[in-house]
Symmetry: D2
Subunit: 348 residues, 4 copies
């Protein structure tokens, strides 16, 4: 695969060079364990400042599935489930990691990969109107991801509508920001980190796909909102002895605002790809404003594409077409983007 | 804590410099996800070669508690529990991570931190002799750690005795090697990696405490012994998107035998510390041949020690004494070791 | 509610009089605990004889949700989920009892409340064709109920088709027979107890809704198919100290074939009701051959109905209609059936 | 076993005759499902009146292990465990039913089968004094049984001391009253149902071993103390469709105080047995004031005893002796008691 153009995912490369530099600089400095060190403390403070909730809490975990499972299981009571779009990452692609913790994922139909506030409202209203509702899984949380699994973005008003309903029903709203940097860098985005902190009860800022080697930062705007969350992280096997390893990376990403523009080149390259696909007449599966591009591709051309490009298989579209993904990342070069376009032009 | 001498644990520093160099070298090379890359493949092959079981399997995880929970839960049936020494890490210090997966830890009394083959045999014999044994948790695995939580080592004959009993009762033997490098480097050790592969059904080679930034390598000598283990790792939230990050580190540790001698300086420094403690008349809690030293310390001297040394609190010994730990690691310098001894001499 | 006509469910009354007589007769006879008594032994033998699998095993549990959770959790590995129709009882109405044990319910669309063999085949084929299938919940069992939640019945050829696919993929087929007596008594049924034993890997014969006070009998045609099932029952809190209480009831139901005809009057009364509804022009939601009748009822008439009849609310049909259920049971009298019809006639 | 004298357990017989009469009387009366019927409502009111907490809540479950698992799992957060005596039923004899729900049983040493308030206090004090306590299972509940597994009784002052500590640390106290009727009927008992309601946060009144066919009544003195408890019961597979079956039994036991004296004859017969054992010079394992008698029996006499008596095996005492149990119940006759004594006299 060494010679293939790398557009399969946004986690094919390592870390932003500054992060490696920081790890190297700190490498032999002794740190206390489990994230109690001063580097983590700095990173947490910087993140909370960026989110405008200095009184909140931040916890660092290693990956997205892990973060979702730990947060959801720590917030929910035993009898509660989590509402998610049927395309939601936790619904489909996480090997039952949520059910493993004992909770049902209550799936509602997506609209462009997003969960619709009015659908959630209708579900909750109908649920509580049913005399038998105590025989059923209690809706205990709403889960969304932004960007979504399909690369689409919530608008601030959509997010506020969801937040309003959650608060009306006293159900926490949790946002999975695995690719949040690519939302923040998108010209179509109108949601800031501060908006997230004011509209969500918990959210996480993705590192693994956004410039870090590994790591996700869970933000809890209201301190103490999840009691014993530290213990729960340990119980779920998600506590790193060398917590500073995660803190150091987020310190690099947040001490001078790197995170908020690290996704810019990925967006630009994705736009270039989408423009080229448009010119070639290849229809998009969803018109996305972030770093992922889903295109409906003729099956007959896939073997030729596969020889030169590492792309993501998404799903069968029809008998003769397949939805495939081209993902860009902070590490994607303009050069590779142009090479990809050249390959595509050669095929059509 | 910057000026304290770092002897609290063996995970205070980062990684062996060669590991950082390797991460840097590979940083922008695109890799396929989830450990399917060629670097992981190389590392696995090298580990299996070192263990003398080329037909086996290797999986990389991030930390010790996680590895224990995933392995134990993947091997056990629902009705089974795991036998461990009452001092075993899974018994005490992991926030109920094993019980979280639904399994009881069946505690047997330790002997110098170790599980005794004859105690296990007696337990199993009595268990199956009891007419009511189907009303109880079925013993489904034996867990040991080497070095143990108290830094002691199993001898090969002790390990073989445990293995024999496990095989007699058809119960898997699992060894937690979080600090395995410090066993391998100890002059008192007579157990090789090949012995582990032949006597255990599963074991893990610790990276986090033994030179890696993070990472543990689970070795399954008999391929297929744990069906769907990959899926189980994902389900437990333990699968890294950038699996190569772990593979690359183990490649550095195993491609030319670094792992088997990386602990040598830690053992030497620990011996120097123990010799000094002996001269000062400070009694050891256990006489340990590896990198951890547990000493019975007078409480009245602790405040002065605390000003200069970051040590590990272990447990109350009596009203006037405390068991404390001095841990060395591959990163411990001779200079700091001498400084620690000087501090101790100043106190007594 | 004493004066309402009782058609809300098939578990409104107690037990067949013979069962009470048997309990009374045995009341002061000392029995050994946990189902190890001779009455249970007799009942098990009788059930296995009726199912034509004398070498099999029978276990008695207390209720349907419990039985489903215990069986499914005992059969599945941790990473496996259970395939069910989206209308399946375990999908909707059991408060997440399956997810509570850590397993996902993989929902496929129903056809008249039934799971279609070709849908299952397609799902399994596509699943294993997906390169990412190890990232997803493994399909580990197929769950069906007969009669279904909507009162429909599988034909023998439908059941065989499902069984064939399950065996092709080496996935157990589990049949929930909560209302099995009403299938056996239906003129449209062509599946015998022996067929169940030869086509399913596990199934349960419902007692609670079919003449028993409480109790369900799990039949495992191949002895030993679920290792440690007894221990698992205890672990799930489902083992009764007085196991003979369940055995005695099934002994009454099976020692001379009572179970196979106890549902006959319920079917007859249900047919009478359906004929009357037809004459009144009230459309059925599904045309069912068993003891449950689902009818599309005008909302405006519901208040008047409610004054005289205890019926089951099922679901909203449209803005002006509701699906309601009239359930008959072995205890339903012809007199009450006629009264119900008179009430309905009075309304239309 | 028909001819053996029945002293193995207190659940060998069925129900108090009045209970059977009540079941028969109600048998064909249609009831609403899941305990929403008026019989359950009456029984609940009667129980709450007897406990002096009319504002409380009562829920009916089927058996002891089930009740313990459902209550404990419903009360505890995910990171919490339950403190119990190492002889506690949940520690040993329930097949890991508590761990199955994800919670650790934190075992403290028993004193005569009882948990000692000062031991609990010391444990809690030391726990929270440990800097690493967030790395460990949080103590979230104290579990005791009364009578204990060894037939001993708490005094009111012992219970109050436990209650005080629990309240000081804001940890619920839960009492397992599987054999509560035998405490209430013991002349040594000084704890009333009202005391339980004022000193415990949750407790259950045992039916299965105390005159009911099956059934346990969970009492929550403060309504709403366990949110969604009904849903949790269903989720654990513990909700009976015919809830009235349990309510009717407790109605018989509580509508005129039967429960508080139903154990009297069992206590009297147990005293007779203990007196006889004393005369024969057979030492008791514990001197118990309730319906269970544990005696240290010479192994050489066991075969002869076994021919005539169904007794309970408890544990090995030494090489030549065994601890065995003679249990009496409400159904034990004076005649059988005398026969047992005659058998014993014949042996010594």
């Amino acid at each position: 695969m060494n010679n293939l153009l790398p557009f399969a995912s946004d986690y094919m490369e390592g870390a932003h060079p500054e992060i490696l530099r920081c790890l190297e600089k700190n490498n032999l400095t002794p740190m206390t364990g489990y994230g109690t060190d001063s580097v983590c403390a700095d990173a947490k403070e910087e993140i909370l400042a960026a989110c405008g909730c200095p009184e909140g809490e931040v916890f660092f975990l290693s990956g997205g599935t892990q973060t979702n499972a730990v947060v959801i299981d720590s917030v929910l009571r035993g009898v509660e489930g989590v509402i998610a779009a049927d395309t939601g990452h936790i619904s489909l692609h996480e090997a039952g990691a949520i059910e493993f913790t004992g909770h049902k994922v209550i799936q509602l139909p997506h609209k462009l990969g997003k969960l619709n506030a009015s659908d959630v409202k209708k579900y909750l209203k109908d649920f509580y109107a049913d005399d038998n509702c105590t025989h059923m899984v209690q809706p205990g949380m709403v889960y969304i991801s932004n960007p979504t699994e399909y690369g689409t973005l919530y608008t601030k008003s959509e997010l506020r509508a969801l937040s309003d309903i959650c608060r009306e029903y006293n159900i926490p709203l949790y946002l999975d920001g695995a690719r949040l940097a690519y939302a923040l860098a998108s010209p179509e985005n109108d949601i800031t980190l501060r908006d997230l902190a004011s509209l969500c009860d918990v959210f996480y800022i993705g590192g693994t796909k956004c410039g870090a080697l590994i790591g996700e930062a869970v933000v809890i705007p209201k301190r103490g909102y999840i009691p014993f969350f530290f213990t729960s992280i340990k119980q779920h096997g998600a506590l790193l002895a060398k917590g500073w390893l995660l803190g150091a990376q987020f310190h690099v990403l947040f001490h001078d605002g790197l995170y908020e523009h690290i996704g810019a080149s990925a967006i630009k390259n994705a736009q270039t790809i989408r423009a080229a696909l448009g010119k070639l007449g290849l229809p998009l599966f969803f018109d996305t404003p972030s770093n992922q591009t889903f295109v409906i591709f003729p099956n007959e051309k896939l073997p030729a594409l596969k020889e030169k490009v590492n792309y993501g298989f998404w799903e069968k579209y029809d008998e003769t077409h397949t939805v495939i993904r081209f993902a860009t990342s902070w590490a994607t070069t303009e050069e590779n983007t142009q090479k990809l376009i050249a390959v595509l032009k050669g095929l059509f």
